[in-house]
Subunit: 149 residues, 2 copies
DNA sequence: GTAACTGCAAAATATTTGCATCCTT
DNA sequence: AAGGATGCAAATATTTTGCAGTTAC
């Protein structure tokens, strides 16, 4: 059985704690809650998603600032989208402050509208025209996920 | 020599005209001007870019509506970005209303901040996990373009 | 106790909508 | 002439900033 939006497993308190401390962030309620959302949801989250999921408990501004802190520490990264809503996802690899290694494919489901990190699918290399020097690659595949067939 | 931002070649008036008519859009000043921007700039344009390049000649709202019309007719398409600014680019292939075939790689230059369509570079196929059905692929490579080396 | 985090208010920015006028066909 | 496109005003929505009160360490 797979995790759906309904079945929200809980992340252990110590796990949240450790992850925050490891990144030199003080452990606060909003940070724990928002970090937990990332840990338990397999998909990427937009600012709006987080606001909905936290049931108005936090100030909108706190969410903005928390996401920014997580970004700076390399806990989360942004995922390119075609629309104008930034989506964030947990960095699974060895992201360090300022430098991300996020070389897996992202899948956007046109059914449930979720963005899922396909950690097992590596972005293939491409040969660029003369003169272009690549430093980073992103790939988004859209379609229908296993839940929405 | 390559086209820079300075060297803006002109698109022929009849070309603009034909392209608009072919898509059942009435030929107006703002549409011609904005379509020309797409034709002469090799990169993708964000709403803000267009406002800057048109020197305040058009109302902000007109730009929004023009881009929306172009999208609906399949003249332009959006390009995924990590930030919260939608970028648009001309559809070079046989895009039809509602369905786009845009299977080339996009290059984002961290130097000049431009997004360039690499029409000659096709997005490679990837093998997805069981259960995922792909319908569309997007790939963005960032790095340094030939002008910014 | 101190530095950092949060919430509120407000500013700045971005996007959408309604409507009267003007332009294209 | 008719339908659609534009510009203006204004309504919404989104993001950022300042500051005072609160919390983590």
């Amino acid at each position: 059985m797979r995790k759906g939006v309904q079945t929200i497993p809980k992340a252990s308190a110590s796990e949240l704690n450790d992850l925050l401390k490891k990144n030199q962030l003080s452990v606060t309620g909003s940070r724990k809650r928002i970090l937990e959302l990332f840990l338990v949801s397999e998909g990427a989250l937009a600012h709006a998603d987080i606001e909905k999921m936290t049931e108005e408990k936090f100030d909108r501004v706190t969410v903005y600032r928390t996401l920014q802190s997580f970004m700076e520490k390399g806990i989360i990264h942004t995922i390119p989208t075609a629309g104008n809503s930034i989506r964030y996802a947990l960095c699974k690899q060895d992201c360090t402050e300022g430098h991300h290694h996020d070389n897996h494919v992202h899948f956007f489901c046109t059914g449930c509208q979720k963005t899922i990190c396909l950690d097992t699918v590596t972005i293939p290399n491409v040969k660029l025209p003369e003169g272009f020097t690549p430093t980073d690659r992103q790939m988004i595949v859209s379609g229908v996920c296993e839940d929405c067939r």
